[in-house]
């Protein structure tokens, strides 16, 4: 049923020597990149996009990219478990419990539960994609331009309003991305040049590779260079990576729950991986028979979130493959990769490129297995990568960034653009503008414009042409909720809550604090850019109040870690 029969067919594609090799390369790279903080799968795939010029078969290239996508999830947990950082700062949910476990001598079990959980979640997730994709694609085929446009607007709104707490800045970032996407020849009939200022090389627009690499890689490298942290740690040594019977018994339910939690979130534009991971942690803590262990090394706190992470990554493939809609930065870069090959992701993708899609999914299943084999026994070995000094890592990033940007068009103009966009990326990081909306804006913007103009052309200029299907109306309703909720919160919910605090103390409304809220000044609890603002959405104080730990509610909170 569903796509399972096609999936079997996909194995024929995936099991060729060449594709197995690419899968292996992909997962190796992905794990290495996942282990090293500071580089993410999105940046890595962006850096490798130029390779698509040389790899003729898109199937092979995507098998490699997908390997990197999944592999990145595995490597990250190794680092967070084995890196014995001084002090108590934990920046990712798994790190809290996994690291604590390692410090108590249970590193092997933490690594094992993370790897196996990732494998189970990744496998189930991929199978779910195979099951659901054909059905969703069939439904999606009926969608028209107004519907696509609505969904893209949803993606825009979602990406600006979930990341961090400052929507103004997220929106600014999105607009910057849209502006960059505007450069070039108009895709409509007029064929005029927009924002090119007479520079011929800009006529084709600024290549997505240059933008992605500039914003992610160069911007990050410049920012890190300006504030290079001189801090090191030791690696916790571990024996053979394995688990006891009791550990298995405690892990299997969190694995499954994590998968169930992560997949839907990954599949939805507003989702991502941070929120479900946090939810998984909280759920496991509530359901655990050993809740007192949380905060000191509870294995469920590793099993659940790890599975959630991987399931979320798999979930992200559903909208990407069926609608051409990216839900994360990595998915957006994968979308750009599709465009490099001239493939239009969307509901027709399954019809037009079955070999690609099913080969990809089959390869992911194989890749997951390889990753398990790679990570279970070899995790301590991967951790040795952490001995590479940061100067080499970032010099390497810049090296490959320039290499890739030049290879696009064999033109130094691209290198100059790369530098300029890198500077923009630097400034964005300096002033708390998240980078992800910009990438989504660059990649999705032009496509959204095409859909909008087509919809209006069909309706002959009538604006209602954007709203004339039930689907688009529903989507816009969802958007309205997303946009208006914080205002409702501010004018209705919060005053009510304040009235309930008769002691007169202004209570900090923790309930609507997004998981992106930092617990301490300057400390990042999640790997998302933070912004503390006087923005209407989150603070209703007439005077600006700097956020400090004194005003946060006192509750045992896994996010709150003390910095010495």
């Amino acid at each position: 049923m569903g796509g399972l029969s096609e999936l079997v067919g996909g194995f024929y594609t995936a099991v060729t020597p060449i594709n197995l090799l690419y899968a292996l390369i992909g997962v190796l790279l992905g794990t290495a990149i996942g282990v090293l903080p500071g580089i993410g799968p999105a940046m890595a795939i962006a850096l490798l996009l130029p390779l698509t010029y040389g790899i003729d078969d898109p199937v092979s290239a995507f098998i490699m990219f997908a390997g990197i996508y999944y592999g990145g999830m595995y490597g990250g947990s190794t680092t967070s478990i084995l890196l014995n950082t001084p002090g108590e700062s934990a920046s990712i949910v798994t790190a809290i419990e996994g690291n604590k476990m390692a410090k108590r001598g249970r590193a092997a079990q933490a690594l094992a539960t993370a790897a196996i959980g990732s494998f189970i979640a990744g496998t189930i997730g991929t199978l779910l994609v195979a099951l659901l994709a054909p059905g969703i694609a069939r439904l999606a085929v009926q969608l028209g331009s107004p519907d696509y446009f609505a969904v893209m607007v949803l993606a825009f709104v979602a990406v600006t309003s979930i990341l961090g707490a400052s929507r103004v800045r997220g929106f600014a970032s999105l607009l910057i991305g849209l502006t960059i996407g505007l450069v070039g020849i108009d895709l409509g009939v007029s064929g005029q040049q927009r924002l090119t200022f007479g520079i011929p090389q800009l006529a084709d627009g600024i290549d997505v590779i240059v933008v992605a690499v500039g914003l992610f890689a160069v911007g990050e490298a410049l920012w890190v260079a300006a504030h290079l942290r001189r801090q090191t740690a030791s690696l916790i040594s571990t024996g053979r990576v394995r688990m006891e019977r009791a550990d298995w018994a405690r892990s299997w339910k969190p694995w499954l729950r994590g998968t169930a939690l992560g997949f839907p979130f990954g599949a939805v534009p507003a989702g991502g991986a941070e929120l479900p991971t946090f939810l998984s942690y909280v759920t496991e803590k509530k359901l655990s028979k050993h809740p007192e262990e949380f905060g000191h090394g509870a294995i469920e706190g590793v099993a659940g979130p790890e599975a959630t992470n991987n399931a979320s990554a798999a979930g992200g493939l559903v909208p990407l493959l069926t609608l051409g809609l990216p839900t994360t930065a990595t998915a957006a870069v994968l979308l750009a990769a599709f465009q490099q090959y001239g493939i239009q992701p969307g509901p027709r993708l399954l019809e037009n490129e079955p070999k690609l899609v099913w080969g990809l999914l089959a390869s992911l299943l194989i890749g997951n297995a390889i990753l398990l084999v790679l990570n279970l026994p070899l995790a301590p070995m991967w951790a040795k990568l952490l001995h590479i000094p940061r100067p080499y890592l970032y010099a390497g990033i810049l090296f490959f960034a320039c290499l890739g940007a030049y290879a696009v068009n064999a033109s130094t103009v691209d290198l100059i653009l790369l530098f300029l966009i890198g500077v923009v990326g630097f400034v964005m990081r300096r002033y708390g503008l998240p980078v992800v909306p910009a990438i989504i804006g660059v990649i999705l913007g032009p496509r959204a414009e095409v859909q909008m103009r087509r919809a209006l052309q069909i309706s002959d200029g009538d604006l209602s042409g954007l709203f004339n299907t039930t689907f688009s109306v529903t989507v816009y309703a969802v958007i309205a909720v997303l946009v208006l909720w914080p205002l409702v919160n501010r004018f209705v919910v919060r005053p009510r809550r304040q009235r309930r605090a008769p002691d007169g103390a202004e209570r900090w409304p923790a309930a609507d604090a997004l998981p992106g809220e930092p617990a301490q000044d300057g400390e990042r609890v999640w790997s998302v850019p933070e912004a503390r603002t006087g923005d209407d959405a989150t603070v209703d104080a007439p005077a600006a109040r700097p956020l400090d730990s004194a005003s946060l509610p006192d509750e045992p909170d896994p996010r709150q870690q003390e910095k010495p």
Partner: protein
């Protein structure tokens, strides 16, 4: 900990972003104004629609951001595993990094990638604090020559060979 004083100082410089957004918006609007609908075919929404929208929104966002800053809002500089925000910018590192970048741009077509790439890598590593003067150039050359071979021979993507033509 970022002190209140510092934060207020930083607030002022955040207006740079407002200015940038404003300038960008004006730029987009001005450029859009000179566009016209396609000749011949009557398009309800021409090429200037989205630019006008984006430009307008940029200006609006600039205003909203200014309002946010005035109300005490603050864009938090991005933290991270490798970032230590307790001191100011390391301008020397940034300048050196930019210099390495520009050196690559200048050299890549004249001297070829194997050389310009090595200079780039070495320069960046130096800028970031690495002071191994034997090890670093070796790594840099291995990378630049290796990637040259990979791209040109393995993938068929052209990279300039410059003065090493004939040797490689």
């Amino acid at each position: 900990m970022i002190s209140r004083i510092t934060r207020q100082g930083q607030d002022r410089s955040e207006f740079l972003v407002v200015l940038f957004l404003l300038a960008l918006g004006v730029l987009v609007l001005v450029d859009a104004a000179r566009l016209h609908s396609g000749v011949g075919q009557r398009e309800p929404v021409g090429p200037q629609a989205v630019p006008f929208l984006v430009g307008g929104l940029l200006v609006v966002t600039a205003v909203l951001l200014a309002r946010d800053i005035l109300r005490g809002g603050h864009g938090e500089p991005e933290g991270g595993e490798d970032v230590d925000l307790s001191h100011g910018n390391d301008w020397q590192a940034l300048l050196l990094l930019s210099a390495a970048f520009l050196a690559n741009i200048a050299l890549i077509e004249r001297a070829g990638w194997p050389i310009s790439g090595a200079v780039l890598f070495f320069g960046c590593a130096y800028a970031l604090g690495s002071r191994h003067f034997v090890r670093d150039p070796i790594i840099a050359l291995v990378l630049s020559i290796g990637t040259w071979y990979l791209f040109v021979l393995g993938l068929g993507i052209g990279l300039p060979v410059g003065i090493l033509k004939g040797i490689l």
